[in-house]
């Protein structure tokens, strides 16, 4: 019944490499800007279609990896080309392939220099992103994780704004510093767990407590930079402001999720005891992200910077939900990420639409946009309200689930009641409304005073077109989230079981068994 089972068809490999192959074809054979645009669009749509079976023939009743592929790669080090997805990673692959189409369409007119390189960069980026979410071998994961820095670096560095050099450098150094530690951690695990890089083996191997702590810290730095969590978040507003619109869309839509995905895929199942141990820190950092960052967002004068800070605040909910180990909170964290992929992406696109007209991101340069761009004002308002997590929008589902899960996590994990954590996080209800609506008021509402604003034309059909799928998905997920949640139930339940089952007994047993094994060897 399942396509991949019947045909034994490598859907994941195809999803990963189709964009790359398309990029190669465009590079070698396609001439002329318009031809490149169309070719890139066709490739991205084809890539999206290829990923659809992942959702359509997904088996929601098992927590096992699906669509698995396994080929030996570097046998000397037991490194394999191993792929697979579960309910947690699969949605991100679809989100990636969908957002790539939107990115390509959004760049149709506003990118006029080096169109070919731009499109190739995005297609390569798609390959690496899907690779990150599909990899089940740690080295393969690391390979894609690092590889995506290159196209992202180029996208910001070449097509970015005035301060792009500073922003790219900051972005690159931050993420690289984190990644190096991850590599060290992976190597350590390789030797400890019996010379394997299989992520599933890492999940099963009983690391003892000290190991877990150190590896957790290394992973934490790598992932926290990506999320980003306070206080290693300052690269993000710079990267966002300088990135071209589509760059911001991918950055907010997918790239930020990699950090949280790392926590879900590595920290929680592989290092359950360390994850439990560090809960208070994660909670504290998440709360700071929600409250502190929201206050900072309030005072921003640059729209992109404001939305970037808003992203960090929303990711605070994700990290909070990740470390509550309850079904509602963890599912809420994943839903929150996907939802944020729609909403933040759309908000950056909204800013892009205005930027294409006036070439400024300053809030003060706008005002009364609704008078000249009524359709745009409605679309922008839709996503602002979604950003505020109004019920009916996808963001509400994620946030309320995280809050519910946090509130109920209470007695099990900590002496201090997480009820108060949930209540503190609920202040986001007020803060997000403050910064989002204040921006909307200053930019969109009001009388038409500025001459520059008077010249603005409403959205074209093409521009409206790329908002439609995002609006539909935001509403769908907000009003009827069950289909999305169905993918998560079993996988998240399995993850919680992994994250709450201590490895220490097994580790102790292993230590005791070792002399016996050694003796047997000799």
């Amino acid at each position: 019944m399942d396509l991949h089972n019947v045909l034994d068809f490598p859907i994941l490999s195809l999803s990963i490499f189709l964009p790359l192959a398309g990029a190669l074809v465009i590079w070698l054979f396609v001439r002329g800007d318009n031809a490149v645009r169309w070719a890139a669009l066709i490739v991205s749509i084809a890539s999206f279609v290829v990923t659809l079976p992942l959702a359509l023939s997904f088996d929601t009743s098992t927590s096992h990896m699906q669509f698995e592929e396994f080929h030996p790669w570097i046998t000397t080090f037991n490194i394999n080309y191993q792929l697979g997805v579960d309910g947690i990673s699969m949605p991100f692959i679809l989100l990636t392939s969908l957002l790539t189409i939107i990115c390509i369409v959004s760049a149709w007119q506003c990118i006029t220099s080096r169109v070919k390189e731009y499109m190739i960069a995005f297609l390569v980026l798609e390959t690496t992103l899907i690779g990150v979410f599909a990899a089940m071998d740690a080295v393969l994961f690391y390979f894609f994780w690092e590889a995506l820095l290159i196209p992202m670096y180029l996208i910001i560095g070449i097509w970015g704004g005035k301060n792009r050099v500073y922003a790219t450098l900051k972005f690159f150094l931050y993420t690289l510093a984190g990644s190096v530690l991850m590599l060290v951690a992976l190597l350590a695990m390789y030797f400890e767990a019996g010379k394997t890089f299989s992520m599933l083996a890492f999940m099963d191997y009983p690391f003892d407590f000290t190991w877990q702590i150190w590896i957790f810290i290394a992973f934490f730095i790598a992932f926290a930079v990506k999320v980003p969590m306070w206080p290693v978040h300052t690269w993000l507003p710079d990267a966002h402001t300088e990135a071209p619109t589509a760059g911001s869309v991918i950055l907010a839509g997918i790239l930020l999720k990699m950090g949280a995905y790392g926590f879900l895929r590595f920290s929680l199942p592989m290092l359950p005891d360390a994850s439990q141990y560090f809960v208070p820190f994660m909670v504290a950092f998440s709360l700071i992200a929600i409250v502190y960052i929201s206050l900072v967002a309030l005072m921003q004068t640059d729209m992109k910077r404001l939305i970037a800070y808003s992203s960090i605040a929303h990711m605070g909910f994700v990290t909070l939900g990740t470390f509550m180990f309850t079904q509602a909170a963890l599912e809420g964290a994943v839903i929150g990420m996907i939802s944020h992929g729609f909403v933040a992406a759309a908000l950056f696109l909204c800013v892009g639409v205005m930027y294409d007209r006036l070439h400024t991101r300053e809030i003060g340069d706008y005002g009364g946009v609704v008078n000249v761009m009524p359709v745009f004002a409605a679309v922008f308002l839709f996503f602002c309200m979604a950003n505020v997590a109004l019920p009916g929008a996808s963001a509400f589902v994620g946030e309320i689930m995280v809050l519910i899960g946090t509130f109920e996590a209470n007695p099990v994990y900590m002496g201090m009641s997480t009820k108060w954590v949930a209540i503190a996080a609920t202040t986001s209800v007020v803060l997000s409304a403050c910064y989002t609506l204040w921006m909307y008021k200053r930019v969109v509402m009001g009388d038409l005073v500025k001459d520059s604003v008077k010249t603005m034309k409403d959205m074209t059909v093409r521009e409206f077109g790329f908002f439609v799928p995002l609006m539909v998905l935001t509403l769908w997920m907000g009003l009827y989230p069950l289909p999305f949640l169905d993918f998560l139930h079993v996988s998240v339940a399995h993850l919680i079981e992994q994250a709450t089952t201590s490895k220490l007994d097994a580790a102790a047993a292993l230590v005791q068994a070792l002399p016996v094994i050694d003796a047997a060897h000799h």
Binding site: L295, Q327, A328, G332, P391, G392, E408, W420, G446
Partner: protein
């Protein structure tokens, strides 16, 4: 009484119709143009009103409905269904909402005629009606919250409808954000309900409440202990305070008058702002078990009722007078709920919806006639030009003042008498305070209502020449809704008492049946029935009646006879007058203690935290630099600036939290 089953399709059609109308006008307004837009929206809302009345009659005859239609979300054991609970409390709300909404729709055809945003306006008010119906018809806390937020959204959109006006945009944002502060409480309440009851459906939660209370579950925070039921009720009540404009979250409601008048009538008088009262009545099986929460409801309600009445005394904007009156009347309704006379509260909600919507629409008719002038000092003698508006507004003013036999008299009198009967065991002073506040409120209500009425329709003619040239009675499409509502303002009081038996102290035997729960331990209506005055003529012996008459009399003297008196009094009262005129300086206070410090804190965290400390300090300068700047910050710590201390507090709280978690 035989069992009547309600038709599910009919029940679904009631909210669905306005939604479809809204979608049609909202998405295809450009094609439908003015006429089709208002036909499709008004038609669907009127149809919805007819169905609501039909359902109301069935429910009055004993029918009810409870069922789920689909599951909204599942995560582990967290399940949220979408369903309806149709009982007498629901239907009285449905009927009130749809009838007032129908009147407002028709009225809008005349009032908004020629406005460039005409179809959009109709789309908004229909969508609002849908949201309000979801709010009242839902069977769980999430449908309530969904409707709650949706009405807030449309309130926001409609207040800012004339988006060119900066004041309107500010008011819209203020309304949304202040409501969100209330929603914070509401959301926390929902979290707690789910946590303690494992369900979000009313029926399940209510059934579990008595046992839950008996377990005496408490919840503590840093040595402060409170029972869980009190915590839940207080948190939810914060939401009600926000939505219903109660002190100290009332500041948005008077500003919301920046929106077009039809929505002031529909949203900010008759329906949305009463959602808080509805919530408390709906949740009576929970509030009844928390004496603290009930006392809080009474205190907040009585304070608002009194304070907003004092502000209403001196306002000069015709809509603001009515707006403050709305806050004040909502306070009465809350007091009713707080003293466990929920049925009186809902009764007042219903009568108030008719006469207050009428007051606003009549005020709109006046504003329309005098070329968008809202200052009552620039009106006068309008009765000559607009007789229908004059008469209908007179009826509404009588109803609001509480003159028998008009609607407001019955409901308000019931509230006050119930308040006198309720004795709080723990907080004895609350009853006395509330009684004083409500009684003096009656006098002030009558006074400011007729002050506005006389200044508008009688007194000297102060209309400027430009407006005078256009002065005329409004067209039928405006006056007919006024007349329909006037019927409501006259008869709903008598109808409620004599036909619906709404004030039956034995709730179960009266109109509300099991929709409202009052413990026998404190049922003020019961005491009233046993010890209170009897007979239809008893109003002659009660204080509210004479206070209302006195208020009207004073207004008559000051604004009809001795027209020089008001200015003299204002001069004599000096600071008091200024204090009231500036609405007790709430806005200025909030600017000082919330808005400015929040902005300051935001800038501080950004500039000092992100840019200086993290970027410059940690990244560029490295450790040495950060030590240097750290020392500089230490020197600057005693800056005397509020937000610096606030920052220190935030950091401190986080530190403390972390410490507590680690040490526990």
């Amino acid at each position: 009484m035989q069992e009547i089953t309600l038709n599910t399709a009919e029940l679904l059609a009631i909210p669905a119709l306005p939604l479809l109308g809204a979608l049609a006008a909202g998405l295809f307004g450009w094609a439908l143009k003015e006429k089709l837009s208002h036909i499709v929206t008004s038609g669907s809302v009127i149809l919805s009103a007819i169905l609501s009345v039909h359902v109301f009659i069935q429910v009055m005859n004993g029918a009810s409905f409870h069922g789920n239609f689909w599951t909204w979300m599942i995560a582990g054991d967290f399940v949220v269904p979408v369903g309806m609970l149709i009982d007498p409390l629901t239907t009285i709300m449905m009927m009130t909402v749809t009838i007032v909404s129908s009147c407002v729709h028709i009225y809008t055809i005349g009032y908004m005629h020629g406005d460039p945003g005409y179809p959009r306006f109709f789309a908004y008010i229909s969508a609002f009606t849908f949201s309000m119906l979801v709010l009242v018809m839902g069977n769980n806390f999430f449908t309530l919250f969904f409707g709650w937020e949706a009405v807030g959204l449309f309130s926001y959109l409609l207040i800012g409808f004339w988006y060119q006006r900066d004041t309107a945009n500010k008011a819209a944002m203020k309304a949304f954000i202040v409501n969100r502060i209330g929603d914070f409480g509401f959301a926390v309440g929902i979290l707690a309900v789910w946590y303690y009851f494992g369900s979000v459906e009313y029926k399940t939660v209510f059934a579990m409440t008595p046992d839950f209370v008996a377990q005496n579950v408490t919840l503590g925070f840093m040595g402060w202990e409170v029972t869980a039921i009190t915590f839940i009720c207080l948190a939810l009540f914060v939401g009600a305070m926000g939505k219903s404009g109660q002190v100290p979250l009332h500041v948005w409601l008077p500003d919301s008058m920046e929106g077009p008048t039809p929505i002031s009538a529909l949203i900010h008088a008759a329906t949305m702002v009463t959602a808080g009262v509805f919530m408390v009545a709906r949740l009576s099986p929970m509030f009844e078990f928390s004496e603290v929460a009930l006392a809080a409801v009474v205190i907040v309600g009585a304070t608002t009722a009194w304070m907003c009445a004092t502000i209403g005394l001196v306002q000069n904007d015709i809509k603001r007078v009515i707006a403050y009156s709305t806050c004040s009347q909502l306070g009465y309704m809350f007091v009713a709920c707080g003293v466990s006379a929920y049925s009186a509260g809902i009764f007042h909600l219903m009568t108030h919806a008719y006469f207050k919507a009428l007051l606003f629409l009549a005020a709109g008719s006046v504003i329309h006639a005098v070329m968008a002038e809202q200052d009552i000092r620039k009106m006068g003698q309008l009765r000559k030009y607009m007789p229908i508006t004059y008469i209908t507004m007179f009826l509404a003013a009588l109803a609001l003042s509480g003159v028998p036999p008009f609607a407001g008299f019955f409901s308000k009198d019931l509230i006050i008498e119930a308040t006198m009967m309720r004795e709080f065991t723990e907080f004895g002073w609350v009853g006395t305070f509330a009684t004083f506040a409500l009684l003096s409120g009656v006098f002030m209500t009558a006074f400011y209502t007729f002050r506005m009425f006389f200044l508008t329709f009688h007194n000297s003619d102060r209309v400027d020449a430009h407006a005078k040239a256009h002065l005329h009675e409004s067209p039928k499409v405006i006056t007919i809704p006024l007349m329909i509502l006037a019927i409501g303002a006259v008869i709903t009081g008598m109808w409620g008492v004599f036909v619906l038996d709404i004030a039956n102290p034995q709730i179960v035997e009266g109109y509300f049946r099991d929709a409202i729960f009052v413990t026998d331990a404190h049922n003020p209506l019961m005491i009233l029935a046993e010890h209170g005055p009897h007979g239809w003529y008893h109003f002659v012996f009660t204080a509210p009646f004479w206070l209302a008459i006195g208020g009207i009399g004073l207004a008559y003297v000051m604004y009809f006879r001795q027209t020089a008196m008001p200015a003299a009094i204002a001069r004599a009262a000096g600071p008091v007058y200024t204090f009231l005129l500036n609405k007790w300086y709430w806005d200025e206070l909030y600017d000082k203690i919330f808005v400015a410090p929040t902005r300051g804190l935001g800038t501080f965290l950004w500039q000092k935290g992100d840019l200086d400390m993290i970027d410059k300090g940690a990244i560029h300068g490295g450790i040495i630099d950060s030590i240097k700047s750290g020392a500089a910050r230490m020197r600057n710590m005693q800056t005397g600036m509020v937000f610096h201390y606030a920052f220190a507090m935030v950091v401190g709280v986080f530190g403390l939290l972390t410490y507590l978690m680690l040490s526990a």
